[in-house]
């Protein structure tokens, strides 16, 4: 189901939170001209937008980002990523330094 950008981001945030203990979250982006799949009309004149989908294997989210909303969307998206991808390893060099201090 297509959602507007802010709703999508809220739901994405919740999805990341719900999958902290166990599970993965996939976020897909691709270019789309929003053309109906089986239509024979010529839609090539339509401008392209960025379709963003997210899933955790159970729930699906999707939204379409247009050029003018891009900066705002990207900023919020980056904030979400930075806030939630915190189980990645810190630099090894840093860890070694900490060990030395102790």
């Amino acid at each position: 189901m297509l959602q507007d950008n802010s709703k999508f981001l809220n739901e994405l945030l919740r999805m990341y939170q719900a999958n902290r203990e166990l599970g993965s979250v996939w976020v897909t982006m691709k270019r789309t001209n929003l053309k109906p799949r089986r239509s024979k009309k010529d839609y090539s004149g339509l401008a392209c937008h960025c379709l963003v989908r997210a899933t955790d294997g159970r729930k699906k989210l999707s939204t379409v980002v247009e050029g003018r909303d891009l900066a705002r969307f990207n900023e919020s998206y980056s904030t979400i990523l930075k806030g939630h991808m915190d189980s990645l390893k810190k630099r090894v060099r840093h860890a070694a330094k900490l060990a030395q201090q102790q």
Binding site: M29, L51, K89
Partner: protein, 99 residues
């Protein structure tokens, strides 16, 4: 295909997209419990993957996100992330050919 080197992944990913903009998708998979992040770019015939568990890679991922958003929504690479930063001049002409 798994690409270990970030720069080569970045370059091949953008290349793949430019060859087939309407078919190429960019997937980010994050698994918190294992602390793993996988990036995938595919047009259903070629598949490029980059795997990481390093926090430091997040910055690069962010940049790639921005490039792809920008490419997909406006059709142009962002002004800030000019290709010259990433691609040496020798590669520039091949991009023009494909565009």
């Amino acid at each position: 295909m798994i690409v270990e080197n970030w720069d080569s992944f970045y370059q091949q990913a953008v290349d793949l997209y430019r060859n087939n903009p309407l078919k190429t998708r960019f997937v980010t998979k994050y698994r918190h419990c294992d602390g793993k992040l996988v990036l995938k770019v595919t047009d259903d015939s070629t598949c490029l993957q980059y795997k990481t568990d390093q926090q430091a890679d997040l910055k690069k991922v962010e940049k790639l996100n921005r490039v792809f958003f920008e490419l997909m929504a406006t059709g142009q690479a962002p002004a800030g992330a000019s290709e010259q930063d990433h691609f040496p001049a020798s590669n520039a002409c091949s991009y023009n050919d494909q565009a």
